[in-house]
């Protein structure tokens, strides 16, 4: 053995050792960050586990919106090595989904690395594919937002985009609660992209979204929507809005607009249909503001309900602007101003209140400010500041012009006149619950301020009941319980000033009269039939209210048929002088009813065997008279009687039928 040569070999070995060590150091220490990054990218994948979006329910627990979990099937084409694997997948999918095999083969032969071969497969189909395992085929959870009641409460609920993020309505406003928290799956993969394991340390379960329980009552909502749609169709308006509110709390029991849309396919609808007019549209309220103005004047001791106001036979020029009434009178009590909805009366009364006080009350009623309801996109309306008032501003605002409000603002303010004088914060969510059922947040009545004293509110409520019983709101009357309310008709402001063809016809009513539990707002935009709030919105209110009273026993547990005629007759017998000679002639009498004095037509002195002249009578009066006479009648049309099949003065026999034709008086 030659030592020098051995030494040389040893030297080479040591050189090799240092070379390898240096190289290793370079890879492991110097380039560590680079390789770690490469390793991280190829080995690990973080994938979000979508949290299940929370449900939206109505106050009774009915589900209005939930999330359905479907599976979408994806093929990682890199992993499909053989044609037979593709064929296998294609034939299985063709069998399960009933599509052609070539459809799937086309997808599987695309040049993308990953294709979705079946989107949102229904549960029962995905069950069939559970046992079907092919390398490269993966099923992923795919959520769909479902609105099981279709269009019901669409404007309240809003909708979600394809990523299931709320875009409108409650879905948007409560996004943070509904969305939940996505989980994270920290997956380690091998070189083929197959999952090796899950790193528990970095992974966490998704937290499902919270459940939003609305104050909306599904039944009320359905009634409101159906009746609004019916009414809109009947009166040929452009759109209609309705809100049902608990006047004592401000909880919204129903809120609807027609036309509406289906949140599940919101993309197929126009912005016009998707607009929540109840909070977004502003309009001039017209006469519905009158009780509020009277209320504030009473509060300021500026008016006595029984004092008389000259109403100028329906035409009056105020500061060179012509004011007219639909129901002309020479003179009206302040009550009468509300019953007959006299603009002239309001204009005259408005002179008594100081501008700043007037403004302060309007602000107190919530005008000019958004109501801060928990819905997105609310408008705050428009209220002029006193410094911008013209000579006629106060007069016009007092009968509902020169002021813009949203339907919700108007109803909320109106409720303050009937609930004891409180302005409540309107709200639409009853509570928010965790998915497990635990309540996170309970919403309750929030009284913002007292606008009117209880006494004044109580008085106004009675006056409003009589607006329906005797005044312009007569078509809102229910058979079973007393309701109160106020009509509103506002000419729409157009480019040429106030239109004489386009109106906003509204009615705000409430029931039961003594202790209101429900307040209903109805607005029909540009009806082509009727125009007036009393003709268009009041009957819609009546239909809505009747159905609510019939469907919800809690509203009027002891309802009974109101026998108006008997009451009237009893009162008449006691106070009316005998005037049997004036055959077929009736007179208007002051009758005390429901705590206040109203005008009633007196037909107690009608002969029982002679047909009276019913022309000019209301349908209600016709019913009363004909039932008293014992004859049947069939009424067509609405409004006041224009013709009758049995001529006045003709002999009549019980059981005979009289055909009555009614027309709107204009």
């Amino acid at each position: 053995m030659i030592k020098t040569r051995a030494l040389l070999v040893i030297l080479f070995i040591f050189a090799g050792f240092f070379a390898i060590t240096a190289h290793l150091f370079n890879i492991q220490v110097v380039k560590h960050d680079l390789y770690r990054e490469i390793a991280f990218r190829q080995q690990d994948k973080q994938s979000n586990i979508l949290a299940e979006r929370g449900m939206i329910k109505d106050r009774t627990g009915k589900t209005l919106s939930y999330t359905k979990r479907d599976y979408s099937y994806y093929a990682s084409l890199r992993q499909f090595k053989t044609e037979s694997a593709k064929k296998k997948v294609a034939s299985k999918f063709a069998e399960v989904f009933g599509k052609s095999e070539s459809h799937y083969l086309n997808l599987l032969n695309s040049d993308k690395s990953r294709v979705c071969i079946e989107k949102k497969a229904p549960f029962e189909k995905s069950l069939k594919l559970r046992e079907f395992i092919v390398d490269g085929l993966s099923a992923e959870e795919d959520y769909t937002r479902v609105y099981p009641e279709n269009r019901l409460a669409s404007h309240v609920l809003g909708y979600v985009n394809t990523n299931l993020e709320g875009v409108n309505g409650v879905e948007k406003y409560f996004e943070d609660y509904l969305k939940g928290e996505d989980g994270l799956l920290f997956v380690q993969r091998d070189v083929l992209g197959k999952t090796v394991g899950v790193v528990q340390e970095y992974s966490y379960e998704p937290v499902p979204g919270d459940v939003i329980e609305l104050t909306i009552d599904g039944d009320y909502q359905k009634i409101l929507e159906e009746e609004l749609a019916k009414g809109l169709n009947k009166y040929e308006g452009v759109s209609a809005t309705g809100i049902v509110m608990d006047p004592n709390t401000g909880a919204i029991l129903a809120m609807a607009n027609i036309p509406d849309y289906n949140p599940g396919s919101y993309g197929k609808f126009t912005d016009f249909e998707r607009k929540n007019r109840a909070i977004m549209d502003i309009y001039e309220p017209g006469s519905t503001i009158k009780p509020l103005v009277i209320g504030m004047m009473m509060e300021e001791n500026l008016v006595n309900l029984n004092e008389n106001i000259e109403t100028e036979n329906g035409t009056f020029t105020y500061n060179r602007v012509k004011i007219s009434d639909t129901h002309p009178s020479r003179r009206l009590s302040v009550r009468g101003v509300l019953y007959e909805s006299s603009n002239i009366g309001m204009v005259k009364l408005s002179e008594r209140i100081e501008e700043n006080t007037f403004y302060k009350y309007l602000r107190d009623f919530g005008f000019g400010n958004s109501s801060s309801i928990d819905l997105p996109g609310e408008s705050s309306g428009f209220l002029k500041k006193p410094k911008n008032f013209s000579r006629i501003s106060k007069a016009f605002i007092s009968h509902g012009y020169e002021i813009s409000v949203t339907p919700l603002q108007m109803l909320t303010a109106f409720c303050a006149t009937i609930n004891g004088g409180y302005l409540n914060q309107p709200y639409i969510v009853n509570r928010i619950k965790k998915e497990s059922g635990e309540t996170i947040k309970q919403f309750e009545k929030v009284t913002l301020r007292t606008v009117l004293s209880k006494e004044i509110s109580d008085t106004l409520r009675n006056v409003l009941v009589n607006v329906v019983e005797e005044g312009t709101g007569s078509l809102a009357r229910l058979d079973d319980i007393y309701v109160g309310g106020k009509t509103g008709t506002a000419q729409k402001w157009t480019a040429d000033g106030y239109s004489t063809e386009e109106y906003n016809s509204s009615f705000i009513g409430f029931f039961p009269a003594k202790a209101p539990k429900v307040a209903v707002f109805v607005l029909v935009n540009s009806p082509k039939v009727g125009f007036y709030g009393g003709r268009v919105a009041a009957p819609i209110f009546k239909e809505i209210s009747e159905r609510i009273v019939n469907s919800d026993i809690n509203i009027a547990p002891y309802k009974e048929k109101i026998i108006r005629k008997d009451q009237t007759i009893d009162n008449l017998l006691a106070s009316v002088e005998d005037s049997r000679n004036d055959v077929g002639i009736t007179r208007m009498l002051n009758v005390t009813e429901n705590g206040s004095t109203v005008k009633k037509r007196d037909f107690s002195n009608l002969p029982k065997d002679i047909m009276p002249d019913l022309r000019g009578y209301s349908v209600r009066e016709v019913m009363a008279v004909t039932s008293m006479l014992g004859i049947k009648c069939s009424v067509t049309g609405s409004g006041r009687v224009s013709s009758q099949s049995i001529e006045p003065g003709e002999k009549i026999a019980p059981g005979q039928t009289c055909k009555i034709e009614c027309k709107m008086e204009d």
Partner: protein, 361 residues
């Protein structure tokens, strides 16, 4: 330095490497049966080690020719009886494990060359009287290995053999000429018949081999301190068959540069210990045999690490004592056993009780 210390150090390091290997195999496969299989092989290897430690190495002088002939017969039989794996027949299935005759042939060839050089003495410098006999055996074994096909092992056998010849005193001119000639012939053969070897070599110069790339990623992500034993991510199929030739990448990933460096140092320690044993061996046969065996161990380790770190084209060379593979482990354990025996019979301490050594080991 006392021989005792050298022997103990060497044994300690080898056992450390074997334990490390077992742990890495368990961590990279995560499979109990796999691990158990490896432990069985470790036990067999220890048995082999003890047997060869006890056999006085002088006996090999009598039987080395027959041993080499047996190895050659096995090599001839391999293509006929062998099990094909990855397109090559390198293994013969024995009762309980597959056996790779080329691994055995390697050590038997070194042994016979050592004996040849001792016998020929000064004649080794003469081509006709000495060198050509060595050349004959080297050529025969290398050729049989290359036709398996196992190009890299054949090249390494040639390299080790010529190193032994070089250290043993053969003339540099002979070595240079034959190496040049054999190299040219081998290259021609390779290019003509071994497209896969060519492609591997070409790939080394053009783009990185996938396995090497992944091995480097594994090493690199290990950093200085590593991810911790059992925390390898690359072993999840990023580095294919990480328990075999690429186990060093898992080692680097799990134990970091520190661990990888320590393993390299371990091989260096074994080598240096082997060189000392060689230097103190009582005869030329022992000296050259010990030198050849030590050189085989470290050159295998370096080539393996060189491949894994991308310094060399990919080969089928295992990492001694660590890689999964029965033949490799057994042959290297036997090598250590022979080294022990050579050490125990060194010229400084001719009388060492075998029992005492065993107990201390």
């Amino acid at each position: 330095m006392r021989m005792n210390i050298i022997i103990r150090t060497m044994l300690f390091v080898v056992i450390c490497l074997i334990i490390t290997g077992s742990l890495l195999i368990f961590s990279s496969t995560g499979s109990m049966p796999f691990f158990k299989g490896h432990i069985a092989k470790v036990i067999i290897a220890f048995a082999g080690f003890f047997v060869f430690m006890l056999i006085p190495y002088e006996y090999y002088k009598k039987y080395s020719k027959y041993a080499l002939l047996l190895a050659i017969v096995l090599l001839v039989l391999t293509p006929l009886l062998g099990t094909e794996k990855n397109g090559a027949k390198r293994w013969i299935e024995l009762w309980f494990f597959s056996f790779q005759p080329s691994e055995m042939a390697k050590i038997v060839l070194i042994m016979h060359l050592a004996l040849l050089i001792e016998k020929k003495g000064e004649l080794i410098v003469d081509f006709k009287k000495g060198f050509r006999y060595a050349l004959f055996w080297i050529g025969l074994v290398a050729s049989l290995v290359i036709i398996q096909p196992n190009v890299s092992n054949s090249v390494i056998i040639t390299l080790i053999s010529f190193t032994v010849l070089y250290v043993g005193g053969a003339r540099l001119k002979h070595i240079a000429i034959t190496l040049g000639g054999a190299g040219a012939a081998a290259l021609a053969t390779i290019f003509a018949f071994y497209p896969h070897a060519v492609s591997r070599i070409m790939a080394f110069f053009t783009n990185e081999h996938m396995q090497v790339k992944q091995a480097k990623i594994a090493l690199g992500s290990g950093g200085l301190l590593g991810l911790g034993l059992g925390n390898s991510r690359a072993s999840d199929r990023f580095v294919p068959e990480p328990y075999g030739d690429f186990i060093f990448s898992i080692l680097g990933e799990e134990t970091g540069f520190i661990g990888a460096f320590l393993v390299l140092v371990s091989y260096l320690v074994i080598f240096v210990a082997g060189i000392i044993i060689s230097k103190r061996a009582k005869d030329t046969f022992g000296q050259l045999f010990a030198f050849g065996v030590s050189f085989t161990i470290i050159i295998s380790a370096f080539i393996n690490v060189g491949v894994v770190t991308g310094m060399l084209p990919t080969t089928g060379i295992t990492l001694p004592f660590i890689s999964f593979g029965g033949t490799s482990l057994l042959v290297f354990a036997i090598s250590i056993g022979i080294l022990m025996n050579i050490a125990m019979q060194n010229k400084d301490a001719p009388k060492i009780s075998i029992e005492a050594q065993t107990a201390s080991g």
